[in-house]
Amino acid sequence: MCLAKNNKQFPGLIYLFSQTATGQNTERASIFFSRSCLLLFQPVLGTGHKYYLQFTTEDYKTRENVGTCLAIVFYLKRKPTPTVNIKCTYTKDQKEVQEDDHRFYQKIRQHTKPIIGSYIPDSYGNIEPAFESAWALAVVGSSYIMWEKSTENLGYFMAQVKHVKQWISKDDSIDFDYAVLLHEIPTQEMILCHMRVIWIPNHPLKVKYFCSSENQSAESEDVSGMESGSADGILNERAANF
């Protein structure tokens, strides 16, 4: 059923999934993008390329299937961001989703000290239990970045959380500062992005970010500290929908 030809990866779609949930006034922080399958690739003469995709999402921790989506992703010529029509069926209902999100939220709020860490997962693929939630939130936050940066021919995966620092906020929101490494396909570059993620359940994520390429100019001992001052110095803000 899946086509082998032009079977591109769409890692940015995790945000899409979140977007549809937004339509129902909820934000799904605890889900993870899974398998995608290209059903059809349709060049539209003179206009662009249409991709018919099916993909599933899974719970970031239990890996259980959470929903299946069908999406039509239409890349117009000369416009990097496609238009998307998406329909999803969820294995859980609205109430269960909200409960999931609240559980996720509580897990983070439970920490008496701010969560501060580096290299998650570590070089050996380990994620300390204490950092699991922060990592999952980084995945979702990164997907916003990926959605904005990706094009028809450029995609991303979150390779690693280089640093995470939680801000204790006066209100009920959870607030994290991240340095994440995005693996860029097909260039194979590691893109370093600084990202601020603020979230309250039942609201969309608030993500601000700034990205630079890790590999430019001179090498240093700790490459994480490098900000080359490239042209990417635009502070992007993904504002809340409310």
Binding site: N7, I185, Q216
Partner: protein, 408 residues
């Protein structure tokens, strides 16, 4: 007795002694201290449950026999003609000891330093010395040896299969998988009919760490390092993408001419010594029938071409072989792989190794991209190493069997 003397004239003997008490053990330990006898204890006296084997020089035989007889210590002649088989048996015993040591000590389900991998390679070659030998095909930019394990049951110029891993430093599951695979091939010979028949007619060459400089750098400085560590005058950036450096559509789309890029193709094809060493080896060998390279991640099994988006002449066969291999792989743990040409499966990329090997005439050229599909990416947890290696093995075996059964 006289007959025995005559038979063993001027020859050392190995005696196997069975002590029946701690007291007898004490006596044997005393024997050990008598240096003038020049006894060579193969198994030392420790407790009565275990035999004591001693190689006794001919000149000391009488004295030792007298000693044993006096203390009523039972013994038998283990080896009558030491000169002929001494080396081989001692070697076998050392290997047995090493086998016990290495099997119980080396953890294939963990990520290791380059030094630990190189030691494991040595241990493997020693353990299976009849089948496995270590060759050096060159040196990396920073002068680290490039070691290839050769699996051969003899015969000159046999058709051979080439396997390599770790051309990209950060793809740690690949070096780990290759090491596990080396142990698997060695242990399967004589046990698995398929591998046995394969090795009875073909050789296997396995390069476990294709890019040792990069690998060391990914441990010491930058876990996400991909390229070699070659330096060029006038550039602050280091390294070339070794999988854009092969002489196949070199410099074309899908590779970068920027030195600082992670897909920088290098100043010219084969500029990287790691690549050139393989090319030279394969050309010199002249009888390589399959070229299999292992990468991560994405869960793909691909065949040429990458530098152009057209199908190779052997498309149908390669696709069939690839699909069969992917099915075999999936059958173990359910890990699904996509199969296709490089260009249609991931992206157009020039200067890749299997494009070179295919255009060179090695029909069965395949590239694996192992687990996972992006969740952990390069940082695959160590507990997935062995499951990954096990499933990949089924895929590799499937391809190798086809190569064995379709000589060309």
């Amino acid at each position: 007795m006289n007959k025995v003397y005559f038979f063993f004239l001027n020859r050392d003997q190995v005696l196997r002694i069975r002590a029946s008490s701690d007291d007898q053990i004490d006596k044997l330990q005393l024997l050990e201290t008598l240096e003038h006898l020049q006894l060579d204890f193969w198994l030392h006296p420790s407790n009565p449950a275990l035999p004591v084997d001693i190689r006794v020089p001919f000149g000391s035989l009488q004295a030792v026999r007298a000693f044993l007889g006096y203390h009523d210590i039972e013994y038998s002649i283990l080896i009558e003609d030491v000169q002929v088989i001494l080396n081989e048996e001692k070697q076998e015993m050392i290997s047995n000891q090493r086998r016990e040591r290495s099997n119980s000590n080396f953890n294939y389900g963990a990520y290791h330093s380059l030094d630990a991998i190189y030691k494991a390679i040595d241990d493997l070659a020693a353990e299976y010395h009849g089948l496995v030998s270590k060759l050096q095909i060159g040196e990396s930019y920073e002068k680290r040896p490039l070691y290839v394990l050769k699996f051969s049951t003899g015969g000159p110029d046999r058709p051979a299969i080439w396997l390599d891993a770790g051309i990209h430093a950060r793809e740690w599951v690949t070096q780990a998988t290759a090491l596990w695979t080396a142990q698997k091939i060695a242990s399967e010979y004589g046990n698995d009919p398929s591998i046995t028949s394969l090795l009875d007619t073909m050789d296997i060459f396995l390069l476990v760490v294709t890019n040792p400089d990069g690998y060391v750098y990914s441990h010491a400085k930058n876990r996400m390092w991909r390229k070699t560590r070659s330096k060029a005058a006038g550039s602050l950036c280091v390294g070339v993408d070794p999988n854009r450096n092969w002489d196949a559509g070199f410099g074309g789309p899908g590779s970068s001419d920027q030195r600082c890029s992670d897909s920088y193709h290098g100043p010219h094809a084969n500029s990287e010594v790691e690549v050139k060493s393989i090319v030279d080896f394969i050309k010199k060998h002249g009888n390589i029938k399959a070229f299999l390279t292992i990468h991560s991640y994405s869960q793909l099994l691909m065949y040429p071409y990458g530098y152009k988006c057209t199908e190779p002449a052997d498309y149908r066969e390669l696709d069939t072989v690839g699909k069969a291999a992917a099915n075999a792989l999936t059958s173990l743990h359910g890990t699904s792989f996509k199969v296709g040409t490089i260009c249609s499966t991931i992206y157009q990329a020039s200067g890749g190794s299997i494009d070179w090997s295919y255009d060179f005439g090695i029909k069965y050229s395949f590239a694996f991209e192992l687990r996972d599909t992006g969740r952990y990416g390069f940082l695959l947890p160590a507990d997935q190493i062995i499951p990954t290696a096990e499933e990949t093995w089924l895929g590799l075996k499937s391809i190798m069997e086809h190569v064995r059964d379709h000589p060309y």
